[in-house]
């Protein structure tokens, strides 16, 4: 029997979160400016952006930790500015930091959080056992969590965020500072939770992670939303540009420039033995065109490869 980890999304409408013109100022500094976005129920929604872009401020506003200066936002169907307590009982948060008590065991930590959510003792006990099994630290349930590894702490933090069966789970850079193995486990766990119907809002710096995990991604830069869509849609932003990586047997700058003209390269970069050519030409035929050219010129070719744009390229493109 599958274990339930989330509450049923019982709000009306298809959106878990709706932001309209959300703005937050600190004095004269605008941290988030006129943010419009909607998060669908049941999706994993990624928030990307360089440091200081306004991701964390946005998350804080949506989780009622910060008030909204202008605009309005609905979370789980409730207005953030007026229904703080209601929202808090419907959302779960996995903060950047451990944000639990090192001195307490996982069970004690969960008990404390559960009591603050107003859960009954039996309910807390049942959910704690369930969740600790799901995140895989059930056998450590009676050991003070101060000695846990980063990964184990984060798993406990996820369990704490899910304890009261929230509709939406906010995860603020949950994999930052974890080893690759723990990242993988946590990512799988997130996926698993989402599969059971919980909406997840996920912020990260890891493009690959976002690419693999998120259904949709919002990219923020300088307090504004600069891109929004599925990873595929975002990559499409860069559909005009691709990079060809070439490795030749010997150096011949003149020949390389000639080849560049052939494929209408917009720029040519030299990175050690590798030549990077950027072009807006369609991918099809590029490789064969270049191979033939070098063959004619009696130049030995080690490798010719066309690179499609990554999410990181998109990120760099939209945030530069």
């Amino acid at each position: 029997m599958p274990v339930s980890v989330c509450g049923m999304a019982n709000g009306n409408g298809e959106y878990a979160i709706e932001c309209s013109g959300v703005t937050r100022r600190f004095g004269s500094f605008t941290a988030v400016s006129k943010l419009d976005l909607k998060v669908k129920k049941g999706e994993i929604f990624g928030f990307l952006g360089p440091n200081g872009a306004g991701k964390t401020t946005t998350i804080k506003m949506l989780t009622t930790l910060l008030t909204i200066t202008e605009g309005s936002a609905k979370v789980a169907g409730l207005e953030v500015s007026t229904h703080g307590a209601g929202i808090r009982s419907k959302i779960g948060v996995v903060p950047q930091q451990f944000a639990l008590f090192d001195e307490l065991t996982p069970l004690e930590n969960l008990r404390y959080i559960g009591e603050l959510y107003g859960m009954t003792k039996t309910e807390i006990k049942r959910r704690s056992d369930e969740l600790l099994k799901i995140v895989g630290i059930y056998d450590k349930r009676d050991i003070p969590s101060g000695g846990f590894s980063g990964g184990m702490k984060q798993k406990l933090s996820v369990a704490a965020g899910l304890l009261h069966s929230p509709e939406i789970l906010f995860m603020d850079e949950p994999t930052t500072g974890l080893d690759p193995q723990s990242r993988l486990t946590l990512r799988d766990l997130t996926k698993q939770l989402n599969d059971q119907g919980i909406t997840i809002v996920y912020t990260t710096h890891d493009m690959e992670e976002a690419d693999k995990l998120c259904d949709r991604i919002a990219i923020m830069n300088l307090s504004k939303l600069v891109a929004l869509g599925t990873p595929h849609e975002l990559r499409a932003i860069l559909k005009e540009g691709r990079t060809i990586e070439i490795q030749l047997e010997r150096k011949d700058k003149k020949l390389v420039e000639e080849a560049g003209k052939l494929i209408r390269a917009t720029s040519i970069e030299y990175m050690g033995g590798t030549i990077l050519m950027h072009t807006n030409e369609p991918t099809a035929g590029l490789v064969s065109m270049l191979s033939h050219f070098f063959e004619r010129k009696k130049m030995g070719v080690n490798e010719i490869m066309v690179k499609e744009p990554s999410l990181e390229d998109v990120f760099v493109y939209v945030t530069k």
Binding site: S4, G7, R88, K90, P95, Q96, E103, Y112, Y117, G118
Partner: protein, 551 residues
């Protein structure tokens, strides 16, 4: 499907069961950190031990040196007294001030006493004799104590000398009294005028007797003479008419008659008789005149004697008055010498040692320090580590979070206060005159106020480091102005007025009242009211300032 109890659309302003959870969590966190817990509970014990063993101890055996420039009996006497004194231990007797100063510089002695040349003369002549001293000023506390001890010593010394003077004055007065008393006795004899008076009155009566006798005699003789003369006149008349009739009262006439008679032989015996009478009358008259003279002389003597008498009597009354004054002086002197004014403290509140007075202040200080730093530190730490964020994410009101957290610290501080009191009672026999039940409301209100300060400070800071810096800024001056280390009365007026608004001052006052004076809660009500105001202010401020927003 998990069900959550209750309706989370609303959060109660004061949720008691959540407050209990917060207390429980805080206790677990604290109890798991054994070192911190031990420090928290040991701190009051440590404090009380340090204060208990260091306060109220009078200094003894301060190492000192002495230089005697006077070389007199008096200076030797003073030196002996210094040697015998327990305040100082005279380690060196040096020959010059410079030598002594060197000992101070080397740290060998803390004080150098200088008995200057001419000390004895000054003492004897009653000028202001002075003993000089140099103190090691490198340690102001020691210098202060040494100076105070010297003051005490010199006071004792000068009292002793005054005592000696009084004793010698007493003996002089006694001898003067003896002289006066002898003089009085002599005068009494002189003034005993009975003899002169009776002599005078005897003289008077003798005089009257003599005058009377002589007048009787004169009149008797006169009449006899007249009779004789009449008979002679008759004889003359019959013999010859030569006799001049006379009244016969004049001696001249009588003499003339006598002369005439002398020529008449026949009548000569009678005439001779008359002449003889006449002679006797003359003698009597002479005696009368002499008696009169004698009387006048006697009267003059009597007058002189009376004047002398009056003078002696006046002298006597002066001597008496002098004697009276001397006896008064004497009784004052003996009262002074026999009854030295001494000081004896009455103990209406029972017998107390120094620590009894320190404990209430210390209690107030420890609580303030603990309450204002412990909670705020915790909050600031949770803020930084994010666990406060996690709590904020739950449907729990600010007030519940604040009061719940404070509740734990209130309980903790009360436990610490009880430990402090217990240790003070066991280790130092501190007495608790009032009721511990009366202490509870003061403790609770004060702790709440102090915890409120911690809460306010934690709002103003974003990390434990910042918090510690800020709380130091508040707790350190508070500690020094609390009267634990220094009496408030000795502070400059400006600082005194600061001390007068500090809650710690009022808490200490209330604790002192209950613990030492045995006051009930009513008697410490003014303090309690002030503390309540303080509590209300800090609690309201903490609720107002404590924002959920964590930037």
């Amino acid at each position: 499907m998990a069900k959550i109890k209750g309706d989370h659309e609303k959060e109660r302003v004061l949720d008691f069961s959540k407050m209990i959870s917060i207390v429980w969590k805080n206790w677990l966190v604290m109890s798991r950190d054994k070192f911190r817990l031990a420090m928290l509970l040991l701190f009051p014990i440590l404090m009380i031990a340090i204060f208990g063993y260091t306060s109220g101890v009078t200094p003894k055996y301060i190492p000192a040196a002495i230089v005697d420039y006077d070389h007199s009996n008096m200076s030797r006497m003073i030196m002996n007294k210094l040697y015998a004194n327990q305040l100082f231990i005279i380690k060196y007797q040096v020959s010059s001030q410079d030598e002594g100063k060197k000992l101070i510089d080397e740290g060998q002695v803390k004080a150098l006493f200088i008995l200057p040349n001419g000390l004895q003369d000054a003492i004897i002549s009653g000028q202001n004799p002075k003993i000089y001293a140099i103190f090691d000023q490198s340690d102001p506390t020691v210098a202060q104590i040494t100076q105070a001890s010297t003051q005490v010593f010199v006071q004792q010394l000068s009292q002793g000398m005054a005592q000696q003077r009084i004793v010698s004055a007493e003996s002089s007065v006694a001898s003067a009294q003896r002289d006066l008393s002898a003089a009085k006795q002599t005068m009494t004899i002189v003034m005993d005028s009975q003899a002169v008076e009776s002599t005078m009155s005897a003289a008077n009566s003798n005089y009257r007797d003599a005058i009377y006798t002589s007048s009787q005699l004169t009149s008797g003789l006169s009449s006899t003479t007249q009779t004789l003369r009449n008979s002679v006149a008759y004889i003359l008349d019959s013999d010859q008419n030569q006799i001049v009739a006379t009244s016969g009262n004049s001696f001249a006439d009588a003499n003339a008659a006598m002369y005439a008679l002398s020529s008449i032989d026949s009548k000569s015996p009678t005439i001779a008789q008359i002449a003889a009478y006449q002679g006797i009358i003359g003698g009597v008259s002479k005696i009368t005149s002499d008696t009169n003279k004698l009387y006048a002389s006697t009267t003059a003597v009597a007058a002189a004697s009376a004047a002398k008498d009056a003078a002696v009597s006046a002298a006597y009354s002066r001597v008496s008055s002098a004697d009276k004054k001397l006896s008064e002086t004497m009784s004052q002197l003996s009262a002074t010498s026999s009854s030295q004014l001494s000081f004896s403290a009455l103990q209406p509140y029972g017998v107390h040692t120094g620590i009894d007075f320190i404990i209430p202040s210390m209690l107030a200080m420890t609580i303030f320090q603990g309450a204002s730093s412990g909670l705020g530190r915790e909050i600031a730490g949770e803020k930084k580590e994010g666990s406060l964020t996690r709590v904020f994410m739950t449907p729990t009101s600010n007030t519940t979070i604040i009061v719940g957290t404070q509740l734990f610290y209130i309980l903790l501080e009360i436990v610490r206060a009880v430990i402090l009191l217990f240790v003070a009672m066991v280790l130092f026999g501190v007495t608790m005159k009032g009721s511990f039940l009366d202490m509870i409301p003061v403790l609770v209100v004060y702790v709440m106020g102090a915890v409120g300060i911690g809460m306010v400070l934690s709002v103003l800071t974003s990390s434990q480091e910042q918090y510690m810096a800020l709380s130091m800024l508040i707790t350190l001056p508070t500690m020094f102005l609390s009267g634990v280390f220094l009496p408030i009365q000795t502070m400059p007026p400006a600082l005194q007025s600061v001390a007068k608004i500090l809650p710690i001052t009022y808490a200490a006052d209330a604790f002192r009242g209950i613990m030492i004076k045995g006051f009930g809660i009513a008697a410490v009500m003014p303090d309690l009211i002030w503390l309540m105001a303080f509590c209300l202010i800090t609690m309201s401020l903490s609720v107002i300032l404590f924002k959920r927003e964590l930037v």
